[in-house]
Subunit: 332 residues, 2 copies
């Protein structure tokens, strides 16, 4: 793969310029470009510039409103709802996160229910922002059916990611952000191309049989949830929390409503923030550090999020796929 070297600021400006040229106003473009730059910065490249052409597709088809102004509603004493009004998710989060953080600091726990926004980024930016404010953050969202419930042979669940962040004042938070799918279909396709087998439980053939051959999964088969029946239950929970609980689409509804332009469909996100300080008072962070010390002292164990935070320390340029950069440049 040929790459070009871009500074973090060049990545930000490339993304912003492309978004401005495709219907975003200054505020929407700046906020989404920042999320894209931070993904590249942290080595989360599948959520960085790689997503930009899809956002542009959604802007061009007008399903995304690049000039949207989300609206915040306090629907109950500890619940904040943000109507996305077809904005990209980072724009919606920029309004909702400070509000849910304030509310959780006051009430001990608060929920942020996001509606009608277009999410195609990672979830760690939101849970990490909550953790950086000293709170526990949990976020999840659904998408379009790609994953069969355990026992079934046809998709119903999205890849349904869930992210969790634990605050560590003075240190980087402990954060994970994972699909509840066993593997992304893109990874299955890479395994197929490279001739690797995949673990049993990754997916089924088009006849609904278990297989370790990625080709059989990619060619009309289906992905399974991670961890069998237990992971399937977690994936179901994500459908419900990011669906009927907040009055938003289930994955099967998203698929029925989306225009399939390749851009992120309209959907919701469920976020919760909880205050350890309010629940257990001073000293909670030192207590947690005793646990993390035990974990870190074990051979072979890494605290979730460590790799990303290490990447972040590098302020230098990043090597970006040249073909991708050229494709993006052609969009403005």
């Amino acid at each position: 793969m040929n790459t070009v070297s871009l500074t973090l600021n060049e990545i930000l400006e490339l993304a912003k310029k492309t978004l401005l040229a495709n219907g975003c106003d200054e505020e929407n473009a700046s906020i989404l470009a920042d999320t894209i730059m931070r993904a590249e910065r942290d080595g989360s490249v599948s959520h960085g510039l790689f997503r930009l052409p899809a956002y542009v597709a959604g802007l061009k088809s007008k399903k995304i409103n690049g000039k949207a102004r989300p609206e915040l509603e306090n629907v109950a004493p500890s619940i904040i709802k943000v109507l996305g009004n077809n904005a990209v998710a980072p724009m919606v989060l920029s309004l909702g996160l400070p509000a849910v953080i304030d509310l959780a600091k006051k009430n001990g726990v608060a929920v942020l229910a996001i509606k009608n926004s277009h999410h195609m980024a990672a979830l760690w930016p939101e849970t990490e922002a909550i953790a950086e404010a000293g709170l526990v953050g949990i976020a999840c969202t659904s998408y379009k059916p790609a994953v069969a419930p355990a026992g079934a042979t046809k998709p119903l669940y999205g890849t349904n990611p869930i992210s969790f962040a634990w605050p560590r004042p003075g240190k980087t938070p402990v954060v994970y952000d994972m699909a509840t799918a066993s593997m992304a279909m893109g990874e299955v396709q890479i395994a197929k191309r490279e001739g690797h087998k995949v673990p049993l439980g990754t997916g089924l053939t088009k006849e609904g049989k278990e297989t370790t051959d990625p080709g059989e999964i990619a060619d009309g088969g289906v992905i399974l949830p991670f961890g069998g029946y237990k992971g399937s239950s977690i994936a179901m929970m994500v459908e419900l929390l990011a669906g009927a609980l907040i009055g938003e689409n289930f994955s099967f509804e998203t698929a029925a409503k989306d225009n399939n332009d390749g851009g992120p469909p309209s959907g919701g996100e469920f976020i919760i923030a909880i205050s350890p300080e309010k629940i257990s008072g001073k000293g909670w962070d030192k207590h947690a550090d005793q646990f993390f010390s035990k974990m870190s002292a074990m051979d072979g164990v890494r605290l979730p999020g460590e790799r990303r935070h290490k990447n972040r320390l590098d302020k230098g340029p990043r090597n970006i796929n040249e073909e991708l950069v050229n494709k993006i440049k052609s969009l403005s």
Copy 2:
């Protein structure tokens, strides 16, 4: 296995009499006996009378206070803390659940943080009670180290169960209650006895190697979390939510503090209740039913909790292990 036939009322009375004879007062005995009877009723036999000798051990050693009166504190507008004062968990829940349900109905979301109680029951009784009040319920708790974090070869996490319940007004809730361990060590021992292999990923040998031989796991090896690295992250989250978040023990601390009498150690539980009605208004239940209809229509898929609710419809006597009944009778 020889069994004796006991009516549900006989099960309740046997449990209650045994608890009264071992230091419980009327209220503690009634509430714990009811939880035990409901486990037998629902076919959740590993959490029924089977646990009674362990509770008695904890009562005899005085680590459990059979006359305890838990105390409720409103520590923040949406947080309820219950100090267990060494009561058995069902006694603590009988005080905390109505309070967290009321608060979640008012504020949209509320947390119940339970401290210093002795939990050896399933978690579905608490999440199901929340769902029967029209709310989403999530509960989790840790125990003593029995599960190695993914990548490690020594235990740090407890079996760390997590339960989720979705309310369905006029119908039984959809409920799951699962260990984040791949399998209980008891099940591994059964597989060893019966000569079955276990799936790769269930556990490690005492040398820290992967194995499908349950004997190698049972004889000085260690259980792994379900679902590899992803399940391990869920197990870690349970340690944090039921530990430092609520000011309670991590599993490694529980092991260090417990007197190892075989009874449930002192520990905490994290519970959250969320109101779909407050977040998304009327119609949320019909919306969710569309999703459950899709799920149920798939061959091979069962809604979590269905089997237990079906067992519950049988009001007749249950066949109980005769040896267990005799053992229990000898305790009073």
